[in-house]
């Protein structure tokens, strides 16, 4: 059972985290820019074109990539098609329910999608079979199996890791199987503000008591490729600068260590 089922954060845990933050540590003893243990297993689903199982602390997600031929969008006849979908399975958390996607799953899907699309990670120009008629369509389906905070980053790493190992099934249409053309590795880092202290990779409790959140996606050349701010609170200009520095520093460590 998750630590705080039903989304009720207790006063006891809140004040413990606040007390710890004042001493420069976090509720679980991490430093502000420290990540939880991250484990990525690629090719987890052998029958998918690409897949990855990601465990970020107790958050657990499974990503499957499906690549098939289809029609391009009329306004981009010379580009492949890319779609991302996030499913919050009811078994992942007591408040998650089956049915049409809710606000949270749409936001996660869009942030993951934007990070990959705007970083030009996948070379969509190479995914054209017949201009205007037939292109490769890349579906990224993300299933959340266990929720303990920071879905944005877990889903993003999963999607990137799965895409990096994905194979375009050319043999299905009389061609050759090829690796999906990849240009770079975008890494997203989510930062939340707890009592004016910025911490990255928030767990469930930190997410529940944070006032505001920002997700920044960077690539290895240090460019910011996507950014999304959430929740009701605000960031000062200096805090945004700090967040960008934090995300590119932490991001490069994660890229080196896990997404090679």
């Amino acid at each position: 059972m998750p630590k705080d089922a039903l989304g009720v954060l207790s006063e006891i845990k809140k004040s413990f985290i606040t007390k710890q933050i004042k001493e420069g540590r976090r509720g679980d003893g991490r430093k502000p820019d420290e990540y939880r243990e991250l484990r990525i297993q690629t090719n987890y689903v052998p029958r998918a074109n690409g897949s990855a199982l990601v465990e970020l602390g107790k958050t657990k997600i499974l990503v499957g990539v499906k690549i098939d031929a289809g029609e391009p969008f009329p306004d981009t006849p010379n580009l492949g098609v890319f779609t991302t979908n996030v499913e919050l399975l009811p078994m992942a958390f007591p408040t998650f329910e089956s049915g049409p996607p809710n606000e949270m799953s749409i936001e996660v899907a869009r942030v993951v999608d934007r990070g990959i699309r705007e970083s030009k990670m996948v070379d969509f120009e190479k995914l054209v079979i017949e201009p205007g008629k037939k292109v490769w369509v890349v579906f990224v389906d993300i299933n959340v199996l266990d929720y303990d905070g920071n879905l944005f980053d877990a889903c993003s790493y999963g999607a990137v890791a799965a895409l990096k190992t994905a194979v375009v099934p050319g043999s299905k249409y009389g061609g050759k199987d090829t690796q999906l053309p990849i240009n770079n590795t975008p890494v997203s880092v989510t930062i939340v503000k707890l009592d004016d202290v910025m911490v990255c990779d928030p767990d469930l409790e930190e997410e529940q008591m944070s006032t505001t959140r920002v997700t920044i996606t960077t690539t290895e050349d240090g460019h910011i490729r996507a950014m999304q701010k959430g929740d009701l609170g605000y960031f000062e200009l200096d805090e945004i600068r700090k967040a960008i520095k934090m995300s590119s520093d932490t991001g490069s460590i994660i890229r080196e260590k896990y997404l090679k």
Binding site: M1, L9, S10, I12, F16, K19, Q20, G29
Partner: protein, 229 residues
């Protein structure tokens, strides 16, 4: 590697001589018993128990538990007791002089209580009471959770394990039968106590854990602030 206790999977026959098989087993033939769980075999002179590695908590009468207030009604609180079913606390079962409709003053949503299971029926509905020595609303400190079947290991024989952690780290610890643990003290010491509890949780199936815990706590002595008591 440290020596481990005997591990069984569901359907494994349990070797026995004269002991009675108590929990976690079913009869699988003439005078034969098989394990119901994936867990360890706990033996003493009279009984054999199968202790599962993990599993939900089901309340039993007189269990002392830690619960969290989820909902407030006119005269009842709904309490999350870390079990598949929620429990209820009636205002008459508290030490305070409450009046219906105004019980929010005493326990708000998100507060933790240290209570006792007063009664439970065949529908698995249960009621909690705060009317006994030591039962109260928990204030300050920190709460962690472990799987409920491992609670006896955390407590140890006659409370030896938890008392050792308490004395060594200078924290106050309350262990609920349902797997929630409340710790109070200065945050640094609490973190060390949590590490110690996690170590017991991870190595609950091994032999000689108490000695290793003693050595571990001894090695952490330098990091503990002594002025917390």
């Amino acid at each position: 590697m440290t020596e481990t206790k005997q591990i069984v999977i569901p359907g494994d026959e349990i070797e026995r001589t004269n002991e009675k098989v108590r929990n976690g087993a079913y009869k699988c033939g003439q005078d034969k018993y098989c394990s119901e769980y994936f867990g360890i075999v706990q033996r003493n002179e009279q009984f054999i128990d199968i202790v599962p590695f993990t599993g939900p908590y089901f309340p039993r009468k007189d269990d002392k538990i830690i619960g969290k207030i989820l909902e407030i009604g006119p005269s009842m609180w709904t309490v999350d007791i870390n079990s598949p079913y929620h429990s209820l606390l009636h205002m008459n079962d508290t030490p305070w002089r409450t009046s219906a409709g105004d019980i929010k003053r005493y326990l708000a949503i998100g507060d933790y209580i240290y209570g006792k299971i007063m009664s439970i029926n065949e529908l698995r509905e249960s009621w909690v009471t705060l009317k006994d020595a030591g039962l109260r609303k928990l204030e300050g400190g920190h709460i962690i959770s472990i799987p409920a079947p491992k609670v006896p290991r955390i407590i140890g024989k006659g409370g030896s394990m938890v008392n050792m952690i308490k004395d060594a780290t200078g924290t106050r610890i309350v262990v609920g039968q349902n797997g929630l643990i409340w710790l109070d003290g200065i945050p640094k010491n609490i973190m060390i106590a949590i590490d110690a509890i996690k170590m017991v949780e991870n190595e609950a199936h091994t032999v000689g854990l108490t000695d290793r815990m003693e050595a571990y706590l001894e090695s952490k002595k330098g990091e503990i602030d002594g002025n917390s008591k």
